[in-house]
């Protein structure tokens, strides 16, 4: 029974790490203007709004996050191969050294790619008279790297826990069949996609359109204005990080954390119902029972969310009035 309790406990640790990872991922993408903001930053100079923004156009968020996590995962894997034989019986000691070092290497590579992206994009906008501000370049690299470090650290820890979850909870049979870099790749893609699709409050209704009725757009020509002036002085992305850390970042983190929590929870409950835990039987018909149990739990969760969202939106509309423009 202790093993089942341990499995559920590790699942909660993974969900918590996922929450932190995606929170920092969203803020990191806001500092680098990699996500939604990117179009406004690029367009700004082209519509005559020279700006002091950092243009981190490495790629889409999913791919770039996959890259940091895979680099971290590969370095961690290499270090573990070398370090684990040195500490027999206490392999966690090797992990404690390997994970921060691997993630540090990933952060360095993150900074290299950010530099090439910013310099390349700005120099490709020569005809719009956009200069390279060196203080913008240097000043944003460390915030980007540190936020990226947090994301990559959490994701690599999740990958490490997953690939050793059986050993950690007492039954090595339950270890994830995928290697650590592959898990890092999958998790990186996931964290990037969710960070890209959720959050991003800065360029929506929150700031640019806040004097407008909800849902009403502005002409694209005016979008560049968001890069100009902050509450005091010229706006840079450090202002945006402070703004987005209040709501957008945690909101994104919650999305990812909840997805991980419910997904793992329903799988574990399904395995428990199907008789797969605490000991893995030889693969027989009980596998079907585990899968069916998990899927039914998943459907129940989805149904609960659909009903809950409907009730919540109805309540909000009633309380805050109808959306203008609908």
């Amino acid at each position: 029974m202790l093993q089942v309790v341990l499995l559920f406990a590790w699942m909660l640790v993974i969900a918590f790490l996922a929450f932190i990872a995606c929170t920092f991922e969203d803020i990191e993408s806001d500092i680098g203007s990699q996500s939604n903001p990117n179009s406004q930053v690029q367009l700004a100079a082209q519509v005559g709004q020279v700006n002091r923004f950092f243009n981190k156009a490495i790629s889409g968020e999913p791919l770039s996050n996959a890259m940091y996590c895979v680099v971290a995962g590969t370095v961690v894997w290499m270090l573990l191969v070398r370090l684990e034989p040195l500490v027999p019986g206490a392999t966690w000691k090797a992990a404690v050294v390997a994970i921060p070092v691997g993630v540090g290497v990933a952060a360095l590579i993150h900074m290299i790619f950010s530099t090439t992206a910013h310099c390349g994009r700005v120099s490709a906008q020569k005809r719009f008279e956009q200069p390279i501000y060196l203080d913008v370049l240097y000043g944003h690299l460390l915030p980007i790297a540190t936020h990226g470090f947090m994301t990559t650290f959490c994701i690599t820890s999740i990958a490490y826990i997953q690939s050793n979850i059986g050993t950690l909870s007492g039954n090595p049979q339950l270890n994830h069949p995928f290697a650590l870099p592959l898990l890092g790749f999958i998790w990186g893609i996931t964290v990037g996609s969710i960070g890209s699709s959720t959050g991003d409050v800065h360029y929506g209704t929150e700031r640019e359109f806040q004097d407008r009725p909800f849902g009403e757009g502005k002409r694209v020509v005016y979008h560049g204005k968001i890069t100009r002036y902050a509450d005091c002085g010229i706006r840079t992305q450090k202002d945006i990080a402070g703004f987005c850390a209040k709501f957008g970042g945690p909101c994104t983190g919650m999305t990812f954390g909840l997805i991980i929590l419910f997904e793992n929870w329903r799988t574990l409950v399904g395995m428990l119902l199907g008789g797969f835990l605490p000991d893995l039987p030889v693969f027989t018909a009980s596998g079907d029972a585990a899968a069916i149990g998990g899927i039914v739990m998943g459907l129940l969760i989805v149904a609960a969310f659909v009903v809950g969202n409907l009730v919540f939106v109805k309540w909000v509309r009633k309380k805050c009035g109808p959306f203008v423009g609908v």
């Binding site: 690029q42 889409g60 895979v70 390349g120 956009q130 290697a179 890092g184």
Partner: protein, 288 residues
Amino acid sequence: MTVTPAVEEEEGEAEAPKKGLSFKFPYDETEMALIAGIPAAIITIFTGLPAVIKGVGLLLALLWGMDSVRKTSKYGLGTGVPSIGVLGTGYGVIGALMGLAVVEYGAMPALGIYPAVLVGALFMAVLGLVSGYFSNNEKYIAMKIPRLERAMMELGMAGTLAMLLQFSIVTGTLAFQSVVDMVMETGVIAFMFIFTAMAMFHPYNACLGPDERRERTRMVSIEISGLLCIILGFAMLVLGTSPWGAWDGLSLIVFGAIVWFVFFRKFIKACMDECWETVGTGLIKTLG
């Protein structure tokens, strides 16, 4: 989401269209494909070579892939740039597996010569050509991107050669079982996949804009290949697969570090020289 600025046709191309092959520096795209593709294919066959030479082949293959991505994306693909790079790498993985499946035909394992892997590259060339034809043809998808067929074909070949070269660097051979054991089960293939994709699409994605210059963009690809070589060198050291001993991995690391440093420095210098202005700090224009 990334929005593409409307990229104008290169002025140089409009002024003096080149006829045939001249091989004057800077090379045009066809010349670059020949210069990069043939040596990369030859280096792929001979797996007994030192890792540094394979690293040079990898650098050329990735440069060729980057040129194809640029050729495909120049006509206004914005968010499409990373997709094209990943598509090329996906082609590469499939082509490499295809090549590995037929690797034993005509192989000389004692000498480390595996000519049959190039079947994978040829297969991907055909597949790329067919998919390019279907996406461009008006009867089917009708994307109407100029020269898409050729670019897709080159992407498939460059991706396949790059993946095969990396397999050959890490395992020291191209025998199917050792590739599965050393590359796929250890998860190093994820690293190879993402870095190949990055070396292909990141340069053009990072330098996108009306004033993009091909020479400057290509420096980024070489610089990323240098980073790739450094980490592959460490992977070689950890797996201990090279017949040449630890020096093979170490020399690849040194080679990668030098390539990265030289071209990173060169690229940043080129950017700072060629942009509108490089200033330490300053206010935005309307404030004076």
